[in-house]
């Protein structure tokens, strides 16, 4: 019985912790910032990616080296 109680309270604690994590403004803020940074990066990729990727890749043929 005591063991079951313990189990239940542990589960509750975990839920509470998870709740804290998802509602913690700092964590949300950090997550938002990461998402924005990733979005910026993905925009940057579109800017630097070679034009005519299909053609570029088709023409990229190397002699085996070594």
């Amino acid at each position: 019985m005591a063991k079951q109680d313990q189990k239940r309270s542990t589960k509750k604690e975990v839920e509470k912790k998870e709740d804290e994590v998802t509602s913690n403004p700092e964590v949300i803020e950090k997550g938002k910032k990461l998402k924005e940074e990733m979005d910026d990066l993905l925009d940057e990729i579109d800017d630097v990616l070679e034009e005519n990727a299909e053609e570029f890749i088709k023409n990229y043929v190397q002699k085996g080296g070594e």
Binding site: E37, F56, V61, Q62
Partner: protein
Amino acid sequence: MNGIVGSETEFGISVRGEGRPDAVSNAVFLVNSYPYLLPASPLWDYENENPLLDARGFEADGERERPRSDYNRLLNKLLINGGRFYVDGAHPEYSTPECTNPLELVLYEKAGERILELAVDFANRRKQGDARFSIYKNNTDHKGNSYGYHENYLVDRSVPFEQLASQLIPFFVTRQIYAGAGKVGSDTKSGSTHYQISQRADFFEVLIDLNTMAKRPIINTRDEPHADGTRYRRFHVIVGDANMSEVTTYLKVGTLMLVLEMIEKGCLVKGVDLDEPIRSMREISRDLTLKEKYRLQRGVEWSAVEIQRSYLEAAERCFAESADAMTQDILRRWRRVLNQLEEEPAQLGREIDWVIKKGLIESYIERKGCGWKDSRIAMMDLQYHDVNREKGLYAALERGNHLDRLIEEDAIQHAQEFPPEGTRAYFRGTCLRNFSKDVYAASWATVLFHGSNGVIKKVPLMDPRRGSKALVSPILEKAKTVDELLSLLAI
């Protein structure tokens, strides 16, 4: 750590627009575009080179490379950091100078990337027409052609070659899980996949041999020590990927330096021999969850992480009493990385190339709603490795602070101009800096000077540990001329 290590990187080269007429001319044009070439253009000394000698005790058939002087100068650029920038076949190639530890190797590899970046910049400026060069530090054109990344480790000659080979095959088959550079698609007809861990795994067909260009072996037997061959072996590793991530290169080289030192000390790993190493290497490259198990010769099935962990644990035991700070750092990282790979590889998205690249591509796919076969994804795979930091995706991640770093940009700048201090590279690089016009030729094991009366005088450097700053700086500081230097060296 008590080793000597260096790496050779062959870079992929693309020229758009009018370009030069053929692949070799493009590579020659690029190498000769590097703005800090030595004006006197010393030769590369091929005399001690023989890549046809086999560690199993015979010499293979084939022609030894001996270009005429003018062509030699066109192909070979000696660097004041002690390294070499040259044309190998149809590729520009950079060899680091000899380094004493994995962090120093990372530094000199990055210096090499910057040298290539400058060469590209100047090639694009002095080009004819609208040609534009791009250079990639990767290993495949995704059409079945691979170009190499080779590591070289100084090993005590008393270790039997067969022991090195048998100890290292399971290590090489599995180390890709933290050393792979990541690849979209496959280079083999069978075994197609959307993404795999290693660039090179598809290209290895045999266990042990001398070849590097066809039927590539996991263990290469080239016996060309570039040093006193009665004491040393240069263990030539052709099975690895070229990496962009500093942490990945550090781990790739650091773990192998420890394993080689273990073998020298007689701390051996037993019971991890794989039933089918070649097949397992390709399968491991395709198992992005790292949960698959592979059959060992003793009948049990182990995962790649478990095989690596047996090397790690042997290293922890072997260095328990004698680990210096860098050895401890490598052991700690190695253990953590293996644990994280087993739990959830995505945790390593700041450190390990194949995980970094996979995360970036997946984010892009999610944003665009495209598939893995989209040509933009193939382009991202290639452009991750672009050495031009305005175009390179690894560089973009680095700028955005999405990656862990080990070295400062200032140190990379310094490493383009100054050699490592703990090896013969110090003597070679400093002579090229101080006596540039008087150096007739150099190689890994020699520096040849124009002596008085038109006589060429050779300074042999048969021990990679000698020629260090501690040993030769009193002489180099005292000598004002080459004749003084030679007389102080008693040559």
